[in-house]
Structure formats: C-alpha cells, structure tokens
C-alpha cells in the first residue's frame, strides 16, 4: 500500500507536461491594489486580472504562486516560477539580472505619507520596503532609511511613531490615506522613479517574454489596459 502511494506520488510529480504550456506566475501577494491575497485565500488585484488576461491571449495556462519580496528575483532565476508580476519597476540595475517586458503601468509617482504634512522627510527617519527603488531613493536623499520586509510594516512603522514618514508607490498609499480618517497626510512633493512597472523574466526565456510583450502591446492598442488601470487605480495613475 505504501509503495502504491509512493509510486502515485512520484508519477504525479513527474508526469510529462500537459498539452497547454503551464506558466507559473510569481507575485508577492501583499501590495494592494497591484496584488494581494483576498479573503478567499487567492491571489487577487490588478495584476491577477491583467496576468490572467495576458495568459488567455497567449494560450497559456497560468498558475499563481506567492513568495516574499526579498527572494523574488533569486527564486525566478532558480526556476521556482517563470514570471515576476509583482508591481516591479523597470530599472537598469534589475535589467542586469533579469529581462522585462514593456511596461504595463506607466512611470508613476512615489510619495511620502506621514502623520503631519510638515514631517521631516529629508533628515528624519523614513520607512520603505527592502529592495525597492523607493528604499534606494530614501538612502540617497539624506534621510535615515528604515527597511521592512513587507509594505504593510512600512505603514505600521509610521502609525506607531517608529518612522516619520513612509515612502512608497502612490497607488499603494492612496487607498490607505483615503481610509485613515485624516490620520495620514501627504508630505512633501511626489517623486518620479523608475521606468514603469513590467513583468520580469529570466534572460534566457525570450520566447515567453515576446508572447507577453505582444499581449501588453495589444492591450495598450485597444484601450483595454487603460480600462483595467482605471478600474483598480482610479485616477492616481495616468493612463497610457
């Protein structure tokens, strides 16, 4: 009996690929409205809807996987999933290790959010998520950078006074600010960072990248991408 179970398990693990190519989509699942795990325990958000649409257009079967932000690039490289679709901005540094599709969200603003508008964002303590372009920016701005592994913790740090302000994508902060009953306000000017958000792939996966690239181009052309942006981000993101 034990042998039987073991053999079945092995078979299932190693069964040859089914007809449609299966692509594993890696995301963080903690960055609403880009991607988050909804109350049913499934990946949801702008990128879920976009990803599913792109997979359908390219005739691929897509599986969603979550991983922590810290290890999102190494896990792609070692083949745990095939695509990063996690609100990742296209930067030259990242381009050295992975390939990007064209952007599916235009270059957008990052913003400081604090408990009062006069918070010291140039010399005080500013929280940001580890390994993001915002963290790099804070470091060079003269403020003291406090890094956290998840976006939620960066906001909590401001709430409990550990940091003077949080610096993140404006689309992520906007709903939090809107629902804080006036607790949070914007501080300082918005900052333009990065080259927009794109999907990250292994450099050797050119075929898959071209498929997604074509899909994004098609969605830009027929305006459906703009509708999707409008649906999830409202007016905080300018459409293409």
């Amino acid at each position: 009996m034990k042998k039987l179970i073991l053999t079945t398990a092995l078979l299932a693990l190693t069964a040859s690929a089914s007809l449609a190519q299966t692509v594993r989509m890696g995301t963080e699942g903690a960055y609403p409205p880009y991607n988050f795990i909804n109350d049913a325990g499934e990946v949801d958000g702008f990128e879920r809807e976009l990803g599913d649409k792109l997979c359908e257009m390219a005739g691929l079967t897509c599986e969603w996987v979550t991983t922590d932000w810290d290890g999102i690039i190494p896990n792609l490289q070692s083949g745990n999933y095939d695509v990063i679709i996690a609100g990742m901005s296209i930067t030259d540094e990242r381009k050295e290790v992975i390939d990007f599709t064209q952007n599916y969200v235009p270059p957008a603003s990052s913003a400081y959010m604090a408990l009062d508008a006069g918070a010291d964002i140039k010399g005080g303590a500013v929280s940001a998520q580890t390994g993001t372009i915002q963290a790099g920016y804070v470091q060079s701005s003269g403020a003291t950078l406090i890094e956290f592994a998840t976006p939620d913790e960066t906001v909590a740090a401001v709430r409990n006074g550990e940091a003077d302000a949080v610096f993140a994508d404006k689309e992520y902060l906007a709903p939090i600010l809107a629902e804080s009953n006036g607790q949070f306000v914007w501080a300082g000017e918005d900052v333009q960072l990065g080259g927009g958000v794109g999907m990250g792939l292994r450099k050797s996966d050119t075929e898959l990248r071209d498929k997604f690239d074509a899909g994004i181009a098609a969605m830009k052309a027929d305006g459906s991408l703009n509708e999707l942006i409008k649906k999830w981000f409202g007016d905080t993101v300018a459409p293409f």
Binding site: A17, R24, Q77, A156
Partner: protein, 293 residues
Amino acid sequence: MFSSCADPSTLQGLNWLLCYLTTGKHLDFYFSFLTVLTLLAVTAPTALAFGFGGAMMSRSHILPLRIIGKGYTAMVRGVPDIVFFLFFVIALDQGIEWLMHQVRCPDWTDPIRNGLEFRVCPEAKVPQNASAQVWHSAYGFVLAVVTFALVFGAFAANVIYGAMQAVPRAQLETAEAYGMNARQVFRRVLVPQMWVYALPGLSNLWMILIKATPLLFLLGVQDIVYWARELGGAKTSAYAYPHPDWRLYYFLFLLVFYLCMTRVSELVLTRIQNRLSLGQATASGEAQRKAAT
C-alpha cells in the same frame, strides 16, 4: 463558508467576526497549524535517527566512518541555520533537477547554468510546472523535513554521543564479564542506559525545533507566523473585511499556542524522564528505588 457571509459589508458585530474568522484565508491559517504539527511529528523521529546514526559513526572504530560522523556534526553545527536553509535547500533542489535533466533530456544543448540562472529542460522540473499547487507544496514540505532533520540531527548526534560516553564504564565492564560481545553490550546495556543522559539535551533540541518552524517560509511553505502577519496587517477596503492593524491579537494567539506546546512538551518529557530513570544507576533512579521501598 456560511451562506449568511455572502455580503460582508452588511454584517455587524459578532456575525461579522464569525464570518471574518471563517474566510478561506483563515481556513488556510488554521490548516497551517496542522502543517506545522505534522512537520514536527515527522521531523523529530527523523532527526533522532540522523542523530543516532551520527553518534554511532562518531564512535566507530573504522576511521572513514568516524571521519564522516565527526565531520557531519562539526560542519552542520557550525553553519548558521538560516544560511543552511537558504544554501542547502537550493543545492538539493537543483541537484535533483540536474539529475532528472541528465536522465530525461540527454540531447539538450543549452547550458544549464547561465550566470545566476539555473535552467533545466521542462521535463526535468520537479515537480512539473503543470502539476497542481498541492504537489509543489508537498515537495517543499519534504525538502523542509529533510533539511530540518539534517540540521537537528547534527545537534542530536552530539548530544547522543555525549550520553553514550556518560554511561558508567563499570556497567559495560559487568556486561562484558557476563560474556556479552561488543554488539550485545551496545544493544542491551549502553543504548538503554544512555537515554537518561541524552534526555535533557534532546528536550532542549525539541523546544528549539518547535520555535524554528518560521524558517519554513524560506522554503515556500506557509507557516503560522507567516499567516499571522499576513492576516493581522491593516486591510483597506480592497479586501472584503477591512480592519486596522490587528497583528498584536494574532501574535498573542500564537504566543498562547506556543506556550501550550511548551507546557504539553514539559509534561510529556517529565513522564519520559521518570520512565527512563527506572532502575538506572543515577541519582533519580536511586530516589525512585528508595521511594518504592
């Protein structure tokens, strides 16, 4: 889960809480307790077996075996857990896929290593890209058990090795005088008597193992601490059940869980300790003998 939970925005008070605590996400959270307990139940005996093997090898009269045994305990104990978990698991995973690649795709010409990228043919992926997420989780779980067993086995090996040395020489000599050969002495006298010396060290390891489970998330297995942090974080109305930062309550719940685990472990370990001391030439064995007369 319940039909009354269909529209969370209309719910109030206790009903809201009831629905909130039975969302799919919370069920995943409850399920992760089972994952952690299963991991402990599987890992502890495996690690003990590794430890026993390691200790026996370290005591072996055959030099290569002794070197392997000593080398295993020294190396694994010297490397920080987190490094071991990151490095060893990736190496193990890639090693398995590399072997599969050699078997399944002998004609593949592209390089497997490409800078930092590791790319085998699709047929060599373990588990396959197309297999259900359940198999991916199961695979991660097995990797976790092997890694935990290897790490904790090394510590256990050292504890058991020390315990074997602690058994009074007189006991073994007596057994030899009765005409037992080395194997019989080991099985009938040394092993039954060494457990009582090994127990304090092993119980320490067990306690550390209970608390080490958050390392699971490094392997892609979602454990209780991951879920507590994810569920407790502040939720905007992008979620069906918005709430402020509730991490404190979730972590308090975990605290209670871990304290309960510790208490139960203590009770069980005390019983084992009493049981093992029975008739032993130790202070507690002697105390038991006196209490009985």
